[in-house]
């Protein structure tokens, strides 16, 4: 992150949102809302005095609610840029009109409570979507405590507990009483591969991070017992299978094939009741900590953004690629590419691969002055077109424009034209045009008509 922030060809817009996207491949105009930070970044030196002194404590999003941050904060220690923003929802000054401690202690005079959202419009040639993922809210699983039990955590929460910069400083202490767990149970596929309550798909990464976390726990806490309830172990990736085998054979992680039917509390212990389908028995174990491998889902506003950018998404909200095998990073919107988990759940190597792919696509796009496109595009017969602009209205790609042309006698005339670089060949305009003035090359009315007649009824 630090490296990319220092590259002269990269401009980072952090704490910003895309408001509007216009234009087309090679000529996008993106309007960006830069949200008010209440801190003047030109003055701030990132010394951190403000967030040491701020009196308001808020649950840290980065630590998944297990640690605290201040109302003026940086999300995590390595954040780029390493300068704080004020969370106006929780800041005392914005809530009650009093405090201003940060302003008093700031040696650079960078605090600016009056700052407003700013808008900037940038011209870009291509767009890479890398909006990532969210985790499913496992509170819907009443059988796993429904979020009531503090010691039933998600894999990502455990990740924070293991992290040296996490809320416990890298000591694995269970949230309820800050004691080291002696037995940890992992439950796989919570929300994934579940047609009833969750998502039908496999979240792809959980098997591997569970194995990794199990190994880390074994190394951190001597003598810890680890039990993993799983449906299948999916370890298709380079060296993945060996890694899982190592967790089982060398570290002694216990893998039980079966579902957990219930997690409940009894005498200060979490009781995990489930099935071991290989042994064909019911199992009941007491645990100090239960870790749920919750499903990866698209970001909650992924669909809104997709509509703005003009790319389709699947029934869950993951962005659709142009072709699942042959064009996995491209989208139907020319000049827009996908990287990472916004397309489907994926792990780091796959995300890096798709991001590299998207970057390479952009570079190869920019390296040429001309563009090769699909030949199946619409064209308009301007002699019969009455410029009712219905085609323009229905075109999902804004590929139809009205332009002024100079006729041979010097007079000016308005005409409709299809921008071939944008047209994706859906044919909506053709069927909408009453006077048959729009034609879709390759799928003309005449051709369809011939097909109809060829059936020779």
């Amino acid at each position: 992150m630090v490296e990319s922030s220092q590259n002269k060809n990269i401009t980072l817009y952090t704490y910003s949102e895309v408001e509007e996207i216009n234009g087309y491949i090679g000529n996008f105009e993106v309007k960006i809302r830069m949200k008010a930070r209440s801190v003047d970044f030109t003055k701030c030196t990132g010394c951190g005095t403000c967030y040491q002194k701020c009196p308001t404590k808020v649950d840290s999003e980065f630590d998944m609610g297990m640690g605290k941050r201040k109302a003026i904060y940086i999300p995590f220690p390595q954040a780029v840029p390493n300068k704080p923003v004020i969370d106006r929802e929780h800041c005392l000054y914005f809530k009650k009109g009093k405090c201003k401690v940060c302003e008093k202690v700031c040696p650079a005079g960078a605090i600016s409570y009056e700052q407003e959202d700013e808008f900037v419009t940038v011209k870009v040639g291509a767009i890479v979507m890398a909006t990532g993922f969210d985790l499913i809210n496992t509170d819907i699983y009443g059988e796993y405590g429904g979020g009531r039990n503090k010691d039933v955590i998600s894999g990502l929460q455990l990740e924070r507990l293991i992290s040296p910069s996490g809320p416990t400083g890298g000591h694995i202490l269970r949230p309820s009483d800050q004691k080291e767990p002696k037995r940890v149970v992992f439950i796989q596929c919570v929300g994934s591969r579940d047609e009833e309550k969750g998502m039908v798909y496999c979240s792809n990464v959980c098997c591997m991070y569970t194995a990794k976390q199990a190994v880390l726990l074994k190394e951190h806490i001597p003598g810890v017992e680890i039990i993993v309830f799983y449906i299948d172990i999916r370890s298709g990736g380079k060296n993945y299978e060996q890694f899982v085998n190592q967790a089982i054979e060398r570290y002694g992680v216990v893998y039980l094939r079966g579902r957990v039917s219930k997690v409940f509390e009894r005498e200060g212990k979490l009781i995990v009741r489930g099935a071991d389908t290989l042994a064909g028995t019911q199992v009941e174990v007491d645990a100090d900590l239960v870790v749920l491998a919750s499903a990866m889902i698209p970001r909650n506003d992924a669909k809104d953004l997709a509509k703005e950018v003009g790319i389709p998404y699947d029934e869950f909200g993951f962005y659709s690629e142009l072709h699942p095998k042959l064009a996995p990073v491209e989208t139907v919107a020319a000049g827009t590419y996908l990287a990472g988990a916004c397309r489907s759940p994926r792990d780091i190597p796959d995300s890096v691969a798709s991001a590299s792919g998207a970057a390479a696509k952009v570079i190869s796009l920019f390296s040429r002055d001309e563009l090769s496109i699909e030949p199946l595009v619409s064209s308009i017969d301007t002699t019969t077109c009455i410029q009712c602009k219905m085609c323009q209205e229905v075109c999902p790609y804004n590929a139809i424009i009205q332009e002024e042309v100079t006729m041979r006698d010097g007079s000016k005339k308005k005409q409709m034209r299809v921008l071939e670089s944008l047209c994706q060949g859906c044919g909506n305009c053709v069927a909408t045009c009453r006077s048959s003035s729009v034609m879709l090359k390759g799928i003309t009315d005449e051709q369809i008509f011939a097909e109809l007649e060829a059936f020779s009824f």
Binding site: G425, C426, V430
Partner: protein, 143 residues
């Protein structure tokens, strides 16, 4: 022994969108799902490419039935094509009603690329319905 008379088979035109319904047909095929062979498929890029004129002309050309199928609303490969198409289809259906064409001859369906079994079902359904309705004599001069 009774001689088996060859049963009349309806001829149905199917306009299937390339991305969903046609893929659905592919899937039904690769899944070895059996369905009525009466629908002759014309592949179109999007259900929004289907002009109501196609439906009317198919009937005039003597097709016994017409099937138009595209992606589910919200799933259109071209974002909004099927929404535009849905308006046209609703109008087409009313048009048939106004002129007195039995609207069961024309069927509009949403079939996703993953819905091979549904495609087979839809194909069976329209074949069965049209078979019950009998040959399309609407435009014939005979009666």
């Amino acid at each position: 022994m009774e001689t088996t008379k060859k049963e009349w088979q309806p001829k149905i035109v199917g306009f299937l969108c390339l991305w969903c319904s046609y893929s659905g047909a592919d899937l039904a095929g690769s899944g070895r799902i059996k369905y009525a062979p009466n629908v002759r498929i014309i592949k179109v890029p999007c259900s929004s490419r289907v002009d109501p004129m196609f439906v009317i002309k198919a009937l005039q050309n003597g097709a016994d039935g017409v099937l138009v199928s595209g992606c589910h609303p919200g799933d259109c490969h071209y974002q909004s094509g099927n929404y535009n198409a849905r308006r046209k289809f609703a109008l087409t259906e009313k048009l048939l009603e106004i002129f007195g064409i039995d609207k069961r001859r024309v069927m509009f369906a949403w079939v996703a690329g993953s819905e091979g079994p549904k495609l087979a079902q839809v194909m069976d359904e329209i074949s069965r319905t049209v078979k019950e309705l009998g040959p399309n004599q609407l435009f014939s001069d005979k009666n």
